[in-house]
């Protein structure tokens, strides 16, 4: 039934720490790997080894450059984006078949691939771009909060968390009950000022984002200039050797730096 439950017993969700996320894509690849073979699978890519590989991903990592006021330099914030398991998900209410639903017991938003007709209206209703259509199966796919892991008693207790949370090497992803004020995730949100994405649309997302911490002002490190040449024959010999060796390696000599180049 696409009518929403009035309340949910739990509000399971994720808390994503934008301060510690390093943008390594481990959560995204781990998500794809788990969900390609679990309840959501196969999560088929088209042209997977070709130049135009494309397919549904439940978790995508944006990189944003943030320029703060009054600063010349900017910072990079890695921004994982997945289903926020909203309390008022219009993606569910617009569904004409009842394939999309929100679970009353834990608030997880799911799609039943057996009854989805692939009308894509739910993806239009989602402001967060969380739903991606599976062209090969003709149905909509989305993050399941790893419902087939978190209650899976065949797994070790420490593995009964979403695959993305398990994979994160910096501990930037936290999983828990955001409906319980005493839970670790709720405490974390309180302590760090966790926020909702696009709250003005009133979808009431369950997932929260922790803002990047304020930058610590470091003292200007003074780099000692290299000592000036004293003109000794030995030094002249080294300079000559240095020049000679650099000839075959022009890019090093010109000091060209490719590290900041934009991709995509």
């Amino acid at each position: 039934m696409t009518s929403l439950p009035l309340t949910t017993t739990k509000k399971l969700g994720l808390v994503i720490d934008l301060d510690t996320c390093v943008g390594c894509q481990a959560c995204a690849t781990s998500c794809k790997e788990w969900n390609a073979q679990g309840d959501s699978g196969p999560l088929t890519d088209t042209d997977p080894y070709g130049a135009d590989a494309s397919g549904p991903w439940f978790n995508r990592i944006h990189g944003y450059e943030v320029k703060e006021q009054g600063r010349d330099d900017s910072r990079i914030v890695n921004f994982p984006r997945s289903c926020l398991h909203c309390e008022e998900p219009a993606c569910v209410t617009v569904c004409p078949t009842g394939a999309s639903y929100k679970r009353a017991e834990d608030g997880i938003v799911l799609v039943n691939p057996e009854t989805c007709i692939g009308c894509k209206l739910c993806s239009w209703a989602c402001p967060y771009g969380a739903r991606e259509y599976d062209y090969t199966q003709g149905v909509m796919k989305k993050c399941t909060l790893c419902v087939d892991r978190i209650y899976n008693t065949n797994l070790e207790p420490e593995d009964q968390v979403p695959a993305c949370v398990k994979a994160c090497p910096t501990g930037a992803r936290h999983f828990g009950d955001l409906g319980d004020e005493s839970s670790a995730v709720s405490q974390l949100v309180k302590k760090r000022g966790g926020y909702d994405l696009l709250p003005e649309l009133e979808y009431k997302p369950t997932n929260k984002y922790l803002p990047p911490r304020a930058r610590r002002e470091t003292k200007q490190t003074h780099i000692e200039a290299l000592p000036k040449s004293n003109g000794s024959p030995m030094e002249k010999l080294f300079l000559w050797a240095d020049k000679l060796l650099n000839k075959g390696n022009a890019s090093v000599a010109s000091g060209e730096d490719n590290s900041g180049k934009l991709e995509g």
């Binding site: 039934m1 990079i76 219009a90 617009v94 239009w124 934009l262």
Partner: protein
Amino acid sequence: MNPAYSVILFTTASGAGYGLLAWLGAVGAAHGRASTIAFALTSVLIALALITIGLLSSTLHLGRPERAWKAFSQWRSSWLSREGIAAIVTYPFAIAFAACWSGVIDAPNLITPLGYATAVMCVITVFCTAQIYASLKTIRAWNQKLVPAIYMIFAAASGAVLLSAISTFFQRFATPQYIIAATFIGLAFIAKIYYWNTIDNAPRTHTMGAATGLGDGVRQWEVPHTSTNFIMKEMGYVVARRHAKTLRMGCAALLALSFILMAGCIYAPVVSYLALPVILLAAWVERWLFFAEAEHVVGLFYGKQSA
């Protein structure tokens, strides 16, 4: 938004069909039995054919068309489901009305109630179709009160022109028809100009800085994909926005032309044949722009600064 031809055909063809059917219902309710069986059956058949083509076309948009029947279940919350039910419920009313109105079944007392019921079902169906789009908070250009009105005005206008052309063919000239058609075309023209003005001037309340929570100085630095993904294909259509001005002018010009042609019908009814393709093309361009110009709020995460 990606302007899928199946959805444009669905909304324009079924719009014209429901418009025609609603006018037929109103004409039957007002004047009683049709002048000839041929006129009554042909006009209702054309309306139902357009509606059916539209509805079948909408299923082409589905990933799993064979499951389309499941869409009738969620009328409590879903406008798409309501639209499906309203569309199906209209058929028996239309068929019963056609049978009585044409005289195939001799029940003159039923013509008026069935005519009104059919017309009301048509209005409800087109309203539900529009609400599918107008109810989405994620798309500013659609989430407007004017959208259902525009859908109904275009259905009424194209339906009225259709009725005029059919009437002309059956030698049933009636000046009020042409005036009604011209009036709704005029309304469509005004509503569209007002709508474009509204969406152009409405404040872009959502910004990338607010959406990401990262403040005003944020811009996309690295994309979350290696090649075009579903979200970009479905929500990120930009071709039309480049040509939007020209196409809007074209649409307005087509509406103006069909208005002049319908006014001309008063003197030479045969002109209604010319007006028909013009209004249908205008409706097609209007609907194409309606989809192609609409920007989705998800663009904020994909590099757009405001929505």
